[in-house]
Subunit: 402 residues, 2 copies
């Protein structure tokens, strides 16, 4: 039986993620992957977890296993109000919604806001999962220009001035894929622009807790609270398999997200929400986070050191103070898609950067490098191999010019 | 800040669930609710649960907490292949998708199949959560006629003959809201019609495990496997808070559901999927299900007995052999909306049936009665009070005629 005649128009926009296909090769034995984007399993509080489940069952009994409200498990929303205050995000329980990962926020925002052809402004490059969430609702993307300090405010202002933009989507801190962070002054400018144009900003902040150096920078949410729907996740500070994300919204957006969520999944997993609540309230997050940082910091340093040691002079890369990714760019005309194929033969997997752009043909010379899944010596080895392949490619390219 | 100008066209179809509003009163102290639809907390395997979490953490370690594939945790999908075989549903791991409750199946099916104005055939009345899932994709509903044996095959045939129907949605066993079950012979006819018209049936089967009397009736999936996307859930046989649903699909539908799911929530909670896998594989479901049945059977009998004892002669009601609901109908012209208000004053909550119809103005004299949440004596008391209110209403109505 072939039901392809039944597919909705929007389904054409759901092509299989190229990244998903590329990453399938990563599972080959002996492959060193710089291509993934998942947390190190040793960063999960596995020892604690068994105790945490017992505590939660004792504390909430059958309520931890029962249906719950679409907006989320109240003790978790209450714990988040206190937790967010530490980052100067002041909100009330009523403005917090719990979702199935922050992906759940992206999907429901797409669902309630995007009509076909609506314009969404996104960084170029941006998180590919956001594009997967928005695509089925058939938006048009306005690509915002970025530099090594993230989105360029003038580009944002131009976009808002000349277009009717439904919302702006930004990842201001340790962005996926670039690792870039928007500095304080630029954030203030962005907040001012957003407020001036009475625009809605979806601020995605999954990585800011993973800071290995320097001072925390306040979220744009703190600078334009009424204009920002802030979203984050427990995926990087507890465990991604629990699928607990949350949003801190303007009231009306929150209200409609909750209505949409009734149709999407009724509500998020109660048991995992109770675990996340206990993880914060019991002080476990505060104790465990330094351990996570101590795992990632040396890995990230190993990658930055290896890049400095091995990469050719005509390559540039981001030097983030946290997060999970480094973004590298070759000279104009260099193809990281070709590099991907050649590096695979040497058992190193990378992710070409072009898939992170909202429009095809951009970022052909870029790549995303992840450092969370390997130990420091393996990272050094992988970057060394990658550099060798790059140099072969560069010489091949320059020969083809001659 | 008011962002209501930003809402997508489809968002107009997401009005707050009337049921949700009606059920808010249920939380008042002293209220006896026949209006809800949730499992009894004492039906959860709470004692077992603590052991189950430890076993899962020992067995799968950090894999139980890590990101997982969008199609679902493989050990759960493998366990389901074996489990479904007992109900004569023969499938392979590749055709099984795990979702956030069966609500997740309804949403993703809506997403991949429904373009604005597409026709969906549903029972009248039907599960309101299905309407909430489909509504945002802006379908038109074709209401299928039903009697005490569920959907009438001739009505289905007529609908398929005269309309281009995207899919048919049915709950053949212990339907929500009516409790009705389609008998074997009628299922065979339905399977034949579906096959003849090369139609797609979404067969929602959350309740068939909750059988208190009589023989199991095979799913329509067993009779037209290529035309049916079968969906069920762990909400009634383990715990709804885990949000684990699944579908057994025709291959192409499954493939597109998985693509859609990448944008919706990446994947379903890994830890809960591992718990569900262990619950089946370890033989716990087989041991625990009789306990669940022993909790519900006397409650359901209490309600059927009380209805026979107290309800007036011009009322009819379903006598299901399982599930969670009984459907009662007053004489033509009787308003269960008014009954709802009057019964509330006597501290008994019911759910007017009209909200379960795809079109307004239908089922004004109907109501759904749930028996899972109270003990037998309380059920008897509630039905007695309800009967008194009904009789007052009936005499008031007859007086207003005279």
């Amino acid at each position: 039986m072939n039901f392809s005649n039944l597919l909705a128009d929007r389904t054409r926009n759901m092509g299989s993620s190229a990244i998903r296909e590329l990453l399938k090769v990563v599972e080959q034995p002996g492959m060193i992957s710089l291509g993934g984007g998942i947390p190190a399993p040793e960063s999960f509080p596995l020892q604690l977890f068994d105790d945490l489940t017992s505590q939660v069952l004792k504390k909430y009994s059958s309520n931890a296993l029962q249906y719950g409200p679409s907006e989320g498990f109240r003790p978790l929303r209450e714990a988040l109000v206190v937790y967010l205050k530490k980052s100067d995000i002041r909100t009330s329980v009523d403005n917090i919604t719990i979702t199935c990962g922050s992906q759940g926020v992206l999907d429901s925002i797409g669902k309630i806001l995007i009509s076909k052809g609506d314009k969404i402004a996104v960084e170029a490059p941006t998180y590919i999962g956001a594009l997967s969430a928005f695509n089925p609702y058939e938006p048009e993307y306005i690509a915002l220009e970025t530099d090594y300090d993230g989105v360029i405010p003038e580009s944002l202002e131009k976009a808002l001035k000349h277009n009717k933009i439904k919302f702006v989507y930004l990842i201001p801190t340790f962005q996926n894929p670039t690792g870039r962070t928007i500095p304080l002054e630029r954030r203030k400018k962005i907040a001012e622009i957003i407020r001036y144009y009475n625009a809605l900003l979806l601020e995605d902040d999954p990585y800011s807790s993973l800071r290995y150096r320097g001072e925390a920078i306040p979220a744009i949410k703190t600078m334009a609270p009424d204009n920002v729907l802030y979203t984050s996740t427990f995926s990087k500070i507890l465990a991604p398999g629990l699928r607990i994300g949350f949003s801190v919204g303007p009231e009306l957006i929150t209200k409609w997200m909750v209505l949409a969520k009734q149709g999407i999944d009724l509500h998020t997993n109660t048991f995992s929400q109770a675990l996340a609540a206990e993880y914060i309230e019991g002080g476990h997050l505060d104790k465990h986070l330094p351990r996570i940082l101590s795992i990632y910091k040396p890995k990230q340093e190993a990658m930055l050191n290896a890049l400095a040691k091995y990469f050719p002079g005509n390559f540039q890369w981001s030097k983030p103070a946290g997060g999970m990714f480094i973004w590298a760019e070759g000279p104009s005309g260099f193809s990281t898609e070709k590099l991907y194929c050649k590096a695979l033969e040497r058992k190193v997997a990378i992710l070409p950067g072009q898939y992170f752009y909202p429009h095809p043909g951009m970022g052909l010379e870029t790549m995303r490098l992840n450092f969370t899944m390997m130990d420091a010596p393996t990272i050094d080895k992988a970057i060394k191999i990658l550099s060798e392949v790059i140099k072969e490619e560069l010489s091949r390219v320059s020969m083809s010019y001659s």
